[in-house]
């Protein structure tokens, strides 16, 4: 387990994802600070690159994913705390012409 402190950012306390500001190796414990809230200790499950997101709490398939306190999409499968959240498990809801019945 790494002792190094990794910088992360969470925009709003209702968000279920945070952004890492450094490349984080797997099995690292990161601290997510949100003003006025108790810091969250999250164990990162997999390699997460600079600027990418990870779940700060478990997210169920179909749940809305929140960043900036707003909806950025929904989970296409269950996501565990500390898991990378990106196009493989998050899909946008808007502009989805592919979902319109032909």
């Amino acid at each position: 387990m790494s002792e190094q402190t990794f910088r992360t950012i969470m925009m709003k306390s209702i968000d279920n994802v945070a952004v890492t500001l450094q490349d984080v190796p797997p099995k690292t414990v990161v601290i997510v600070n949100f003003p006025k809230d108790i810091p969250l200790r999250i164990t990162i499950k997999e390699q997460i690159s600079f600027g990418h997101k990870f779940a700060v709490r478990p997210i169920k398939k179909g749940d809305e994913i929140l960043k900036y306190g707003e909806i950025i999409g929904k989970a296409t499968r269950d996501i565990e705390e500390g898991e990378h959240v990106h196009v493989h498990n998050l899909e946008g809801i808007r502009g989805r012409g592919d979902k319109v019945e032909k």
């Binding site: 600079f50 600027g51 997101k53 999409g73």
Partner: protein
Amino acid sequence: MTKLKNNEGEFLGYRRPDGKVGVRNHVLILPTITCATQTAQRITELVQGTVTFIHQHGCAQVGVDYEQTFRTYVGLGKNPNVFGVIVLGLGCEAHQARSVAAEIAKCGKPVQSISIQDHGGTLSTIAEGAKAAAKLVQEASTQMKEWCNFSELIIGTECGGSDACSGLSANPAVGSVSDMIVELGGTSILAETTELIGAEHLLAKRAANDQVAKRVYEVIHAMENRSIQMGVDIRTGNPSPGNIAGGLSSLEEKSLGAANKSGKSILNELINYAEEPKEKGLVWMDTPGHDIEQLTGMVAGGAQVVLFTTGRGTPTGSPIAPVIKISTNTSMFEKMGDNMDLNAGTIIEGKETVEEVGKRILREIGLVSSGKLTKAEILKQHDFGIWRIGPTF
């Protein structure tokens, strides 16, 4: 050496006959038709102080699409950064050089139209155009600059090649400058309707009145419907592969970061592509997310300076308006120093606050407006693209 003076809230600009102020003194060779772009290029090669652009428009366009292209040409000619214009046509095209010239002339600046067919071919047109341009350039060079107020500026804001830092560093910093410009009585243009899909409710809440709020939803739905009618996931084009590599997962996520460029000001007006704002303060121009089409639309709307944030890095520039490139992260700023003017990555590193970077950008606007060249200008990055809204016939 004595350096360019930076007076708080002021810059040295060129007063135009209609009272507006330019931050550059270009002579624009404006080809209204793709067939005249090569001739226009030759003229700019011969005469220093002239600018032009390459494009593929000006013929076989009808209806609203014709009008939008026409409005763009006229707006670029009227942009206060332009001292005078030579409108170059072929002769038989839909977008007639003389009609474009007549519209531009209404703002009082020197305008002349030349057509290749009337002047007996390419070489005679180059000679005629170069002679006219040389005269205009010399006239322009005698104009004294004067101290002008930031309230006379229209600042275009734009993000391109975004990454996950865009919404955390450079976009909020541009948002804070946008608020400062509005506070100083100037105008700030927010654009890229596509990249506001998912953030429209936040902007509608800040609308000056119900009519503006209604227009916010109208332009968003119109843009979203275009992808729905095509039966495609908008993510196949936006966010782009580079955005996704940078950590952005959906259009909504990109939009929420992009909306930060508008700061916290009240949204006073929603204008059409390439339309001049009637209101001061924060204005939204309906444009696509395409960097160059958006840039061209804002400059045609009268923007004298453009702020462009980027995470992946881009060389984008305009033939008419200086574009100040702001990096969202320090590693790209260092890697693409040729193209970057300012770095907002210091926010990510905790070295500067959003407001501190905002103030740094504001000072740069003052210097650039007084004549400091941006990287894109030095590299002659003269990008141009019109948002076409109809097929070619």
